[in-house]
Amino acid sequence: MSAELLDLDESIDLGIAPTAPSGKKRRFLFMRNAKALTGLGILGFFVVIAIIGEWIAPYDPDARSKDLLQPPSWDHLMGTTHTGQDVFSQVVLGTRSVLLIAFVAGFAATLLGIVVGITAGYIGGVGDESLSALSNVFLVIPQLPLIIIITGSLPSAGGLSVAFVIAITGWAWGARVLRAQTLSLRRRDFVEAARANGEKTWRIVMAEILPNLTAIIAAGFIGTVGFAVLSQITLSFLGLTPTDEWNWGTVLYWAQSQLALQRHAWWWFVFPGACIALLGMALTLINFGIDEFVNPRLRSTGMNARGLRKRGIRPRIGFTPVVHEAKEDRA
């Protein structure tokens, strides 16, 4: 997953080329959306941190030192803990597990949602009934307690097992949305036409229906990743994952248990908290970008919102904007 994201980041340069896109560059139209661009930029930053964290962390996150509870300084950019551990190193090294677990969980949950949702929507009948019932059950189960119970009963609740627990509890919403959309799509004329042409069911699902769901799937994926980040950090914060495996939640767990607030050690929880907020914002911005990109008609609208504002154009349905720009070459 992270490799793919890096690819996206590289393409940003192409996307914001000042000249109008032509030919091949049209593929990157999505990248011209300012919101999506900001979101991808922040996410890309965290991905880079996750990859190179080992080399840029100045200290061993577990190493104790004599600098107890120091506020941020040039030696310790984000201060130190009660045992003199470097918070900056903990946050930097914690990034990898946050992103890895979040994306693995998001990917697995989305995949599960696609399979269950599209199958239920397309086959209908008894299959639909039972798959819908299954996703309804998962929807009404309170997620966090279930996650806590499952992680609590696992022999080792570190790393990927947490990702899969999150995936298993988080797929139902996406399946529900995809099922509804598939139900509507399979009745459309172009699907009927494909069926009349003798296309195989597989091909209809993969080539006719799935591309129409791309935007929903992408938005759902990003949403699930956000959910996974928060769930995982919650679990670590509650101390349900091993407290010596660093992620932002673990840092917060130690800050909470060692009374950072009461000791006025604000750096201990503000920096990891800010990282969580920033990552959440990045994911939300990407989702906004996808939203504006969903409707092909609005694509050109979302892309250059600033330019449109400058020209006084507010694209709305039912009230065509009027600008007096045309040159009057006819008297």
Binding site: S300, P315, F319, T320, V322, V323, A331
Partner: protein, 363 residues
């Protein structure tokens, strides 16, 4: 264009415009716009049925939607005016109205019957109630009972038994649903009715009924109609005046019978030779070779020249404008955009003017 409109105004005995479109320009796309309408001017007189004809993609519907500001994104009106003249003589520019006034003006002043209008009905409400809804939305003082009674009258007007007001849309046939839409459009006694291919999805019998109905209602209620279709033979039946569009411009604007019997633009001539006449002498069916130009990069000069049998060297360089045709004895109100009829422009461009071919100078 305005000079031409003025001269027309002097000549025409009853010059009572209800809708004047002046230099209307429309783009699709904000970034790399395609100019789909380029400075179109068109006048609709009170009580007149104006037909707009042309091939698919020539901008007929765009013109109607732009004039009512209903063009969806990424449509953009880049210039011009659409002046609506009320019954009491008050004039307003549709393009300059604010949202509230525009909303109030819609349906009341100008009503639209959409392409495939029968799908515009909401399947979960009874048709009588849907018509009554439109009435109460614009006239909140009307009681529900009165509105429903008016809805029943309107259904009667378009030839549907008022008892059907309690039917749901799926209980009506396509033609009846279309007539319900027409009744709905007439609910607030509009002065302009824009019909965008209202009969395309219907069979010929139903087409005829609806066209007759519209003509009849026009005579009784006195509204003006802009009738958009690519079916020229249908237009000749219903329209008083016909404007032929090609590649986002009006190429000929004349009284319906003049267009039918004495076309002056080679494109109109081609259109008329694309279907057999119902009466009179047999005509050779010619059709029009080639296909319309790409609106995103129009050739210089006349956009029709590649398909035109009468193109000459000036056509590649000079853009034709609407002028009175160079055929003696023609109705001075008609206009045509063809260089064969505009020797002054050709001469001014430094080319040798070519005469009007016999085929475009019939009497």
């Amino acid at each position: 264009m305005s000079a031409l409109a003025e001269s027309r105004g002097r000549v025409r005995p009853v010059h009572d415009p209800v809708l004047e479109i002046k230099n209307l320009s429309v783009d699709y796309g904000y970034d790399e716009p395609t100019h789909v309408l380029r400075q179109i001017s068109l006048t609709l007189n009170r009580g007149e049925v104006l037909g707009l004809a042309g091939e698919s993609g020539c901008g007929k519907s765009t013109l109607a939607y732009a004039a009512t500001r209903l063009l969806p994104p990424p449509g953009l009106i880049t210039g011009g005016e659409v002046i609506f003249t009320d019954r009491d003589g008050g004039r307003s520019d549709i393009l300059a109205l604010n949202d509230k006034d525009l909303r109030a003006s819609r349906w009341q002043d100008m009503a639209i019957v959409f392409q495939g209008a029968m799908n515009s009905l909401n399947p979960v409400f009874r048709i009588g109630r849907q018509i009554a809804d439109a009435i109460t939305a614009h006239e909140p003082a009307t009681s529900k009972k009165d509105a429903l009674a008016r809805a029943a009258d309107l259904l009667d007007l378009v030839g549907i038994n008022p008892d059907r007001a309690r039917d749901f849309p799926h209980q009506l046939s396509g033609g009846m649903r279309q007539r319900v839409m027409i009744a709905m459009a007439l609910a607030l006694d509009p002065q302009v009715l824009i019909m965008d291919e209202p009969t395309t999805a219907l069979d010929v019998v139903m087409q005829r009924q609806i066209v007759e109905q519209i003509a009849d209602l026009r005579d009784r209620l006195g509204f003006s109609v802009i009738f958009i279709t690519h079916d020229v033979s249908l237009l000749i039946e219903i329209a008083d005046r016909i404007a032929i569009m090609y590649a986002g411009e009006i190429v000929e604007d004349a009284v319906a019978q003049d267009v039918y019997r004495r076309p002056r633009h080679p494109y109109s001539d081609g259109l008329l030779h694309s279907f057999p006449p119902l009466r009179g002498a047999r005509r050779e069916l010619g059709g029009i070779p080639g296909s319309p130009p790409d609106m995103a990069n129009l050739p210089t000069g006349c956009p029709f020249r590649d398909r035109c049998a009468f193109a000459f060297d000036a056509c590649a360089h000079i853009r034709p404008e609407l002028v009175a045709p160079a055929v003696p004895g023609d109705d001075p109100r008609r206009s045509v955009a063809c260089l064969r009829h505009d020797p002054e422009r050709v001469a001014a461009g430094g080319f040798e003017p070519a005469p009007v071919p016999d085929r475009l100078a019939l009497h």
